[in-house]
């Protein structure tokens, strides 16, 4: 039975390239697939593009391509990535530039566009299309300042690009696992209604999209026994039935086990019987994981249901600013000193009528990660940092707050050390909605560019 091997390349914008490079050298893969986009990443890239028309894709693209393009030529490994962010056409130009600089020719690059729906918003509103919030049902507020609006595209445009001979496919916003499902759907010629196969393929993508999270990264069990050095990124060997085996390249660090794989299986999933993607609704509530060899887990018994009628659209809007200041206090009574400092600042903000929507205090070393669930600190605790955070719309006024802090060193509780002011940061609200896929899919386009062989 025909099988193909797909390797995970990057799990987010900024992920190391070492895992992908090791897989390219020793993993015997046919495809390397990237997931570079989180909700927050789109906001970062949208801000980049607002400053410079030629940016808006992930900046590490140049380095990843420089490292991996030689393997596209030498070993015929195809690269699929959503690193295009909010500017996939500019990302394509950069890939071509890197390829030329490496002397690589006869490279076919496909770009998929149509996920950017910002230009469609006014028209949709005129047409009375509901953009109500996916969870709360709240009505869409058109008055806000939106930085980006992108629909989550599915797998079929990527499959079409592969059918047309692309070596590299670059997209903007797709569902995270689409890059990984595409090679399987293309190689095995899966039809759009082969739900069980597609469901296996999307679950395979889900297990690969977060790089080492399937191979021992972030594992909550015996993590002390994991070798995190040169941790292997997951590789899936998948056949035409959709059943696949997760492994990693020989000699790499990490661990592929029943435990590490099942942890990733439910990561960021809500109802396991209805894992909704643009291409198939997967039911993984009866999934079987079987250890077939050391570091090899076979995944089977996934079922598929028809694709949804509507696609998810996520928009990001500006939502005020936050400023942060940290102040440390030492034993004895570190917690009480920090708490008193918080009261002093709170009183001053009120007295000076600095407009804030929220003042938030955490005690680092005590409750900053666990909030109200933290167990109270023992009075013998060595040190505590007060983290003071304010949120508001007026950046200038917010900046008055950090200035209230230094005088505490002389005017407040004893033994203050380690004053750290952090720059104000813009906050973003995320608006997720569902729209009929018939108003998105007609916009999707595939563009090709080939570097021809150079005449010598």
């Amino acid at each position: 039975m025909k099988k193909i091997r797909i390797g995970a390349a990057q799990g987010f914008y900024g992920d190391t390239i070492e895992g992908a490079l090791y897989t390219a050298k020793y993993g015997d893969v046919d495809y390397l697939c990237f997931d570079c986009l989180a909700e927050l990443t789109m906001a970062i890239l949208a801000k980049d593009k607002a400053k410079d028309d030629q940016s808006g894709y992930t900046k590490d693209l140049s380095n990843t391509m420089k490292a991996l393009l030689p393997f596209v030529k030498e070993k015929g490994i195809k690269l699929l990535t959503n690193a295009g962010g909010v500017n996939p056409m500019a990302a394509k130009d950069e890939i071509i530039r890197v390829a030329k600089s490496l002397g690589i020719s006869e490279l076919k690059v496909a770009v998929i566009t149509g996920d950017d729906v910002m230009p469609n918003l006014p028209q949709w509103q005129q047409q009375g299309i509901s953009l109500a919030h996916i969870d709360s049902g709240e009505v869409f507020n058109a008055e806000r300042e939106y930085l980006f609006a992108n629909a989550y595209l599915g797998v079929w445009p990527i499959v079409e690009a592969l059918q047309q001979g692309a070596d590299i496919v670059i997209t903007g916003r797709t569902t995270d696992s689409a890059q990984f499902l595409a090679p399987a759907a293309f190689e095995f010629g899966w039809k759009k209604d082969q739900w069980n196969q597609l469901a296996h393929g999307i679950v395979m993508g889900h297990l690969l999209e977060c790089s080492a999270q399937s191979t021992g990264g972030n594992y909550s069990g015996n993590w002390e026994e994991i070798d995190f050095n040169q941790i292997g990124y997951p590789i899936a060997e998948i056949d035409e039935t959709g059943t696949f085996v997760v492994s990693k390249a020989d000699g790499s660090g990490g661990l592929v086990s029943f435990d590490t794989v099942r942890e990733q299986l439910l990561y960021e999933i809500h109802d396991p019987a209805n894992y909704i993607t643009p291409d198939v609704v997967a039911d993984l509530s009866h999934v079987q994981l079987e250890e077939v060899a050391k570091n090899e887990i076979r995944v089977s018994n996934v079922f598929g249901k028809p694709a949804p009628e509507r696609l998810k659209v996520v928009m990001g809007y500006t939502n005020g600013y936050m400023i942060q200041t940290l102040i440390g206090y030492s034993w004895p009574h570190a917690f009480n000193k920090a708490r008193r400092a918080a009261q002093i600042i709170e009183q001053q903000v009120r007295d000076k009528k600095i407009p804030v929507d929220e003042l938030h205090f955490d005690y680092l070393g005590y409750n900053s990660l666990h909030g109200p669930l933290a167990t109270p600190p023992d009075d013998s605790i060595n040190e505590i940092y007060l983290r003071l955070v304010a949120r508001g719309n007026d950046k200038r006024m917010l900046n008055l707050i950090p200035r209230l802090v230094p005088p505490l060193a002389l005017n407040g509780p004893p033994s203050l050390g380690g004053l750290i002011n952090l720059a104000p940061r813009q906050l973003l609200g995320m608006w997720a909605t569902l729209v009929d896929r018939t108003i998105i899919e007609p916009q999707v386009e595939i563009h090709f560019e080939t570097i021809a062989q150079e005449v010598s």
């Binding site: 909550s220 299986l265 936050m322 669930l373 995320m430």
Partner: protein
């Protein structure tokens, strides 16, 4: 007994929601998790941190329960003032829960 003794857990965020997948380390303890770690008890455990409802799903073939916590991140990753703005510590927080 705290859950950390018999269970592993991983969490992830989506907007203002967090999911926590809880797994029995030993398959025979799945029954114990199923019986004692109800949606109501998880909601109670996260009081003050999670403002919305908690829904529980079951995946017995991998000895796992999946909890979805709504209105859990003070607005979500890019809007929250919290240090753990992506809810990466919710799973360890659940492992602190005592079941008897």
């Amino acid at each position: 007994m705290k859950l950390v003794e018999i269970a592993n857990a991983r969490c992830g965020d989506k907007g203002n929601k967090v999911n926590i997948a809880l797994f029995a380390k030993d398959p025979k303890d799945y029954k114990l998790l199923h019986e004692h770690v109800t949606a109501e008890k998880v909601a109670q455990h996260f009081q003050g941190l999670v403002k919305g409802e908690v829904v529980r799903y079951e995946v017995p073939s991998i000895y796992g329960l999946n909890f979805v916590l709504s209105d859990a991140l003070a607005g979500g990753g890019s809007a929250s003032l919290r240090v753990d703005n992506l809810g990466k510590c919710f799973a360890s927080n659940l492992l602190r829960m005592s079941i008897f």
